[in-house]
């Protein structure tokens, strides 16, 4: 396998939380790679370490030991500001609770990463509107999140996650707060993004969601139990 094709390279990754006297090993040595353009699901029950993995993958948290290369950059030893820079340029987040700024309209929510990247206002708005149109809610750009349905809010969140053209789109239970009809719309959008070559990682405990991806990593007690193409028997 050509390593340059790997957008994520993880080797011997552990994460230990010190909780008083107790040491909690949330991740117990993970090694895997994700290729550019892959659509991967991470599954596992509560406490399996999938949220911790998500935080580490998202550069919100650092691993205790092991290496993590994201888009060719070793991010294991970066400081907070450098991690912020990586999140800004290489990652896009989609959350279960949408996590939009409540009093700010859709367009300005989407411009936010560009604002932190220091892009001029005109260019920010042009790019943001482009993304909103791409996810199918360009005409709702001037609405505040409270005026949008759950599905629409999640589309705004996806537009925001994509606006900086990240190397990886990370989605944490993206359909967890949505009804089944809206969920399938969002999943269809993910399919479409995947088809255009986006690297997508979805953390979920919903088999239906995981089945839409091409590859499923199943976690239990901080280790990967199975790594198989979707559709293979669990």
């Amino acid at each position: 396998m050509n390593r340059a094709d790997n957008v994520i390279d993880i080797a011997g990754l552990t994460k230990t939380y010190a909780s008083g006297e107790l040491q909690v090993q949330a991740l117990r040595g993970l090694t895997f790679s994700i290729k550019r353009g892959e659509y991967v699901s991470i599954m596992g029950p509560s406490g399996s370490g999938k949220s911790t993995l998500m935080n580490v993958l998202g550069c919100l948290d650092r691993a205790t030991t092991g290496t993590y290369k994201l888009d060719g950059i070793d991010v294991s030893q970066l400081d907070d500001n450098q991690l912020a820079e990586i999140r800004l340029k290489k990652l896009g987040f989609v959350f279960q609770g949408f996590n939009l700024l409540a009093r700010t309209d859709a367009l300005r929510n989407v411009t936010l990463p560009l604002f932190y990247a220091g892009m001029p206002a005109k260019e920010r708005e042009r790019r943001a509107l482009e993304r909103l149109t791409e996810v199918g809610i360009g005409e709702r750009a001037r609405h505040k999140p409270t005026e949008l349905s759950g599905g629409e809010q999640q589309r705004v969140a996806i537009a925001r996650a994509l606006v900086n053209d990240p190397a990886v789109l990370l989605a944490d239970e993206p359909t967890g707060n949505l009804d089944s009809k809206t969920s399938s719309e969002i999943l269809a959008l993910f399919d479409r993004l995947s088809a255009t070559g986006r690297t997508i990682i979805v953390v979920t405990h919903d088999e239906g969601v995981a089945k839409r991806s091409r590859r499923i990593l199943r976690m239990l007690d901080g280790v990967i139990m199975s790594d198989a193409p979707a559709g293979a028997p669990a």
Binding site: L91, F95, A121
Partner: protein
């Protein structure tokens, strides 16, 4: 950088009620301090204006209190001519003699300022009827008087005009004085302010001296100089001349000096009120800090989102810092404008109406106060909430409900 200001302004506008509530304390504090500054400035201007209106080129000379031999230091009639003829720039010298006395005319008995201010030029009030006390009156120590507008209106409330009372008499104790002249209002209504220093019933100083100041000496000299410009030098020369003549020590006292004392009194009042206002600003500043801290807590999730998206610590710090700055700048500038407005209303509507002198608005002080407090409030009270916001852990912040 501009983008941060726009961003902060949008956040503050989105939370309009909270922003306005935060500002009230700050606006009130700055408005208080600035309005007192403006009013005190107007008051000080009015006071110095009043004394200018009286006659800025007069001064009083008297023996120093430490002077041992009072009899030797006391002035004699010969000193009047000596000073007037020796010192260049001296126009007139009269004994300064004045007392609060019951003056009566018929059934009106009123307490008035009575004295031997026989030279009309010491006052700035115009003559409205009759004549002034002349050289013959002084030479003959005649029993005549010129009364002020204040004395006229209070002693003769029924008289239709000032000219009607020329030739009538007023009594001071058993002595009778014939009114030969009536003075009008001075340009500035000093009586209304309780700051009147003019003589109500003026008689020839020779008469005053004959009737009330037996012994041939008097304790004060009143000197009128040609201009107020080099009053200090005329004062110094007069004091020196009298000292060498009498072998005693003297000091001079002019109204400009009194005005400067009163002016500094108002400055002190301004300072004290300013200090009280500063305490209210401290409270307002703590209010801002409190609101900003609440805002940080309330917006924990928002901060988490911003950090997850890729905002650096310094960018979050800057955002909250600029929000504080905008809040305090807006509050202080609004407070300053309200303060200048209130101060100007007090000055124009009240102080100026009485004194006739409109104080200038101390814009520089007002701006310095507003900008100074905005800076201090931001730095002291805005930094901590911004720091708290910046160091939030994004994972924790995102989990915050």
């Amino acid at each position: 950088m501009l983008a941060y200001f726009i961003e902060a302004a949008q956040v503050l506008m989105a939370n309009r009620t909270r922003s306005i509530l935060t500002l009230i304390g700050l606006v009130a504090g700055v408005a208080t301090i600035v309005s007192v500054q403006v009013a005190a400035n107007g008051m000080a201007g009015a006071v110095s204006g009043i004394f200018k209106g009286t006659n800025a080129s007069t001064f009083i000379v008297f023996p120093k209190i430490t002077q041992g031999n009072a009899a030797r230091a006391a002035f004699r009639v010969s000193d009047l001519a000596l000073v007037q003829e020796t010192i260049p720039g001296v126009v007139s010298v009269i004994p300064y003699s004045r007392s609060q006395t019951i003056v009566d005319v018929g059934h009106h008995r009123i307490r008035l300022r009575f004295g031997g201010e026989s030279d009309k030029r010491f006052s700035t009030a115009p003559l409205v009827a009759g004549r002034t006390i002349n050289a013959d009156d002084v030479a003959g120590a005649s029993s005549v008087c010129v009364i002020s507008d204040n004395a006229f209106s209070r002693l003769f409330p029924e008289a239709p005009s000032a000219s009607d009372i020329i030739g009538r008499s007023v009594y001071v104790g058993s002595k009778r004085y014939v009114i030969v002249g009536v003075l009008g209002k001075t340009k500035i209504d000093t009586a209304a302010l309780g700051l009147d220093i003019s003589t109500d019933v003026a008689i020839p100083y020779t008469t005053f001296y004959k009737n009330y100041q037996r012994g041939g000496t008097f304790p004060f000299l009143s000197v009128l100089a040609a201009t107020s410009a080099d009053l200090k030098s005329v004062e110094a020369q007069t004091v020196k001349l009298l000292a060498s003549t009498h072998g005693s020590q003297y000091q001079a006292f002019d109204f400009g000096f009194i005005a400067s004392i009163i002016g500094s009194f108002f400055n002190i009042v301004g300072l004290i009120v300013g200090a009280v206002g500063a305490i209210s600003l401290l409270v307002a500043g703590i209010g801002i800090m409190n609101i900003m801290l609440v805002s940080v807590t309330e917006r924990t999730r928002e901060i988490g989102i911003r950090k997850a998206i890729g905002a650096r610590r310094s960018q979050v710090l800057l955002q909250f810092f600029i929000e504080s700055l905008l809040l305090s700048a807006f509050g202080c500038i609004t407070g300053m404008l309200i303060g200048v407005g209130l101060g100007a209303i007090v000055d124009r509507g009240f102080i100026a109406r009485i004194s006739g002198v409109t104080g200038s608005i101390p814009w520089l002080e007002a701006i310095v106060i507003a900008v100074g407090f905005a800076t201090i409030v931001t730095l002291v009270f805005g930094t901590y909430p911004a720091y708290r916001a910046a160091k939030l852990d994004p994972i924790q912040a995102l989990r915050y409900e």
